[in-house]
Symmetry: C2
Amino acid sequence: MKSSYARALPKAWKGLSKVFTALGDERRQRILLLFEPGEKLNAGQIVAACPLSQSTVSHHLKILREAGVLRSEKAGKEVFFWIDKPRLSEALESVAQYLHEKT
Amino acid sequence: MKSSYARALPKAWKGLSKVFTALGDERRQRILLLFEPGEKLNAGQIVAACPLSQSTVSHHLKILREAGVLRSEKAGKEVFFWIDKPRLSEALESVAQYLHEKT
DNA sequence: AAAACATATCGATAAACTTATATATGTCGA
DNA sequence: TCGACATATATAAGTTTATCGATATGTTTT
């Protein structure tokens, strides 16, 4: 038994933790499922597709962005979002790796 | 843009959703990190390693079990838990797959 | 059968999260 | 510059989740 992590996560897991928390909400999952391959969507498009208020969607987008799941870029008065595929792949991969090696 | 999932998750994602929610809590992540490769731990061992009360740990173990991340087995008066590696691998794999194909 | 033990559940409180309205910030066009 | 627009943030209510102490359930031991 590895009791070393019982009180604090290893540093490498800190970021992962945020990713899973971000993914662990159904509304955020539904937002992610909106994206077509390689597509960028602006906040307005996402708001229009969601049964949630503009500010609520903005809040969820922030969580996804801060977790590194989405990236964003301002273009004029709009902000475009897209899935950070490499980042997300890497996160999943690192857990899969951990599972494989240490479990 | 795939607006079809804006209001309800596809059925295949329902279970995944639970897995990510379960993994999206730092205390639960720390519990998972306790396990050595192939190891089974009983609830008492886990409680002893966590800075949480017995009832709180029991609650988290239930969430992890219901998400399919942990499996459990009663042995006399003890209950042993272990990581459901195939289940977790499959969950991660299916998201990785989705990412790869649909993103 | 009773006592000791391991785990689960209940009930209550506290903390965290989600949500919406209202407002602020920043950008474009007239 | 002023007004319309797109997004973000502040605030506050409502809801969910985490937490603990106490108790219940089930198991072994004496």
